[in-house]
C-alpha cells in the first residue's frame, strides 16, 4: 500500500534574501522511512533539493533533520509513525548550526570540537570545509590530541555509541544562546576519551580543556541532549560526571 504525504521542506540557497518552504506531495510505500520520502521529493519533484544521506541505517549520522520540530534520523523513522495521516510533514534542518543549503548545515565547528577529544571521527572531510565555520560557529580551532590507550590501538579508538549526528547540538538550549559552548557531543567525547586514556597527563589535559565558562559549566541541565540522542550516549550524564571529576581535581589541587 502507498501513502501520499505532503512534505513541507525548508529551502535556502546562497544568495536568497530569506529562507522559504516548499511543499511536495510524495508517494511512498507504507513501510518506507522518511529519508525515502525526502529522496522521492528530490528525484521526482526538485533536483535542487540538498540533503545529506549515506548509510541509511543510523550508523553515519549524516541525515539528521528536524521533523515537525523534533530532531530525528529520517533513515530509521518510518513514515507511518512520524506522519499522523493528515496535514503537512514539516522537515527542517538541525537548529544551532549555520545553514548552507536547504537541509544541509555547516558541521565544521561541531567536528572540530569532537576532534579535540582525540577520538577518531568518521567524517574528517567536514572538519575543514571552506566554509565560514570559525566565524559562524565562533569555535576556536582546537588541536586534535592523540589518545594513547594501554594496548596502543589509539588510532582505532572511536567513540562507539556516538554517530556524530549533531542531534544533541540541535536540541540544546545553551547552544541556541552561544556558539562558544563546547556542546553535549564534544563534552561526551571528552568524557569517553578520559575513560579510555591510559595516560594520566592526557586525561588531566582533557579535563582542563573543558573547565571554563564555555565548557561543562555552561550546561544548564535541560537534559534534552540525552533525551534526543538516537544512540545511548547520555551526554548529560557525561557532562555531570566531568563536573564531578573537575570538582575532585580542583579540591585535590587546593588541599593537596
Amino acid at each position: 500500500m502507498t501513502l501520499e504525504i505532503p512534505l513541507k521542506i525548508f529551502r535556502y540557497k546562497a544568495g536568497d534574501a530569506a529562507p522559504h518552504y516548499d511543499t511536495f506531495k510524495v508517494q511512498v510505500a507504507e513501510t518506507a522511512n522518511l529519508l525515502d520520502a525526502i529522496e522521492v521529493a528530490w528525484a521526482e519533484h526538485d533536483r535542487t533539493l540538498t540533503f545529506r544521506h549515506a548509510c541509511h541505517h543510523a550508523s553515519c549520522g549524516s541525515c539528521a533533520v528536524r521533523v515537525n520540530g523534533v530532531e530525528r534520523l529520517p533513515c530509521i523513522a518510518p513514515v507511518a509513525q512520524v506522519w499522523p495521516g493528515q496535514g503537512e510533514l514539516l522537515i527542517e534542518p538541525l537548529r544551532n548550526f549555520p545553514i548552507i543549503s536547504d537541509l544541509v548545515v555547516d558541521v565544521a565547528g561541531f567536528f572540530q570540537r569532537m576532534l579535540a577529544s582525540g577520538l577518531v571521527i568518521t567524517r574528517t572531510a567536514e572538519t575543514t570545509l571552506p566554509l565560514n565555520a570559525d566565524a559562524a560557529s565562533g569555535a576556536d580551532v582546537l588541536k586534535p590530541q592523540a589518545v594513547v590507550v594501554a594496548d596502543g590501538l589509539s588510532r582505532y579508538n572511536r567513540f562507539e555509541d556516538c554517530i556524530e549526528c549533531g542531534i544533541c547540538i540541535s536540541a540544546c538550549p545553551t547552544m541556541a544562546a552561544t556558539d562558544k559552548f563546547f556542546g553535549p557531543a564534544g563534552l561526551a567525547a571528552i568524557y569517553r576519551a578520559r575513560l579510555e586514556s591510559a595516560d594520566k597527563a592526557q586525561a588531566t589535559r582533557l579535563l582542563e580543556l573543558v573547565d571554563g565558562e564555555h565548557g561543562v559549566w555552561r550546561c544548564h541541565s535541560a537534559n534534552e541532549c540525552t533525551e534526543s540522542c538516537p544512540q545511548n550516549v547520555d551526554p548529560a550524564g557525561a557532562i555531570m560526571a566531568l563536573r564531578r571529576d573537575l570538582l575532585a581535581y580542583r579540591f585535590k589541587k587546593l588541599f593537596g
Binding site: 549555520p98 545553514i99 571552506p130 566554509l131 541541565s221 533525551e227
Partner: protein
C-alpha cells in the same frame, strides 16, 4: 572563498530557550527555573524600592501596608511563594545532578520535588488567605 550561510539573528536564536514544544521534562524544568529566577530577581529590586518607602515615614509606609492587605496583593504573595518553592526545590535537583548525583533519575526527582512544591504552595495559600 567562504560560502554564504544562513543563520537566524542572535536574538531569535537566544529566544529558542523558551520553546518547550515537543521537549521533555528536563527542558520544562530548565525553562521554569529560568522564569522563576527572573521573577525573583525582579521581586528583589521591587522589594528594595518598597523598603525605601520606610524612609518616608508613616505617611509613606502606611498606605502601602493597606494595599499589601488587599486580595489582589495577597495573590501576588502566593505567586512569590510559588516562585521561591519551585526555584528552590528545582535548584536542589540541579545542584545534585550537577554534582553527578541522581542524573539518571532527574525526571523522577523533578516530579517528586514539584509535588512537594505544589503541596507547599497550597498550604501557604491557605495560610495567606485565612490570615488576610
Amino acid at each position: 572563498m567562504a560560502t554564504q550561510v544562513y543563520r537566524k539573528s542572535k536574538l531569535r536564536r537566544a529566544l529558542i530557550w523558551g520553546d518547550v514544544r515537543k521537549r521533555r521534562l528536563g527542558m520544562l524544568a530548565y525553562v521554569l527555573n529560568r522564569i522563576t529566577g527572573h521573577g525573583l530577581v525582579l521581586y528583589l529590586y521591587l522589594h528594595l524600592v518598597i523598603l525605601s518607602m520606610l524612609a518616608g515615614g508613616p505617611s509613606s509606609w502606611d498606605p502601602f501596608i493597606a494595599l499589601a492587605k488587599s486580595p489582589a496583593f495577597l495573590v501576588l504573595d502566593v505567586i512569590l511563594i510559588a516562585g521561591w518553592l519551585i526555584h528552590g526545590l528545582n535548584g536542589l535537583r540541579v545542584t545534585l545532578t550537577g554534582l553527578g548525583i541522581g542524573v539518571r533519575s532527574q525526571k523522577a526527582m523533578f516530579v517528586g520535588l514539584m509535588t512537594i512544591a505544589v503541596i507547599g504552595i497550597a498550604a501557604m495559600a491557605l495560610a495567606v488567605f485565612s490570615k488576610g
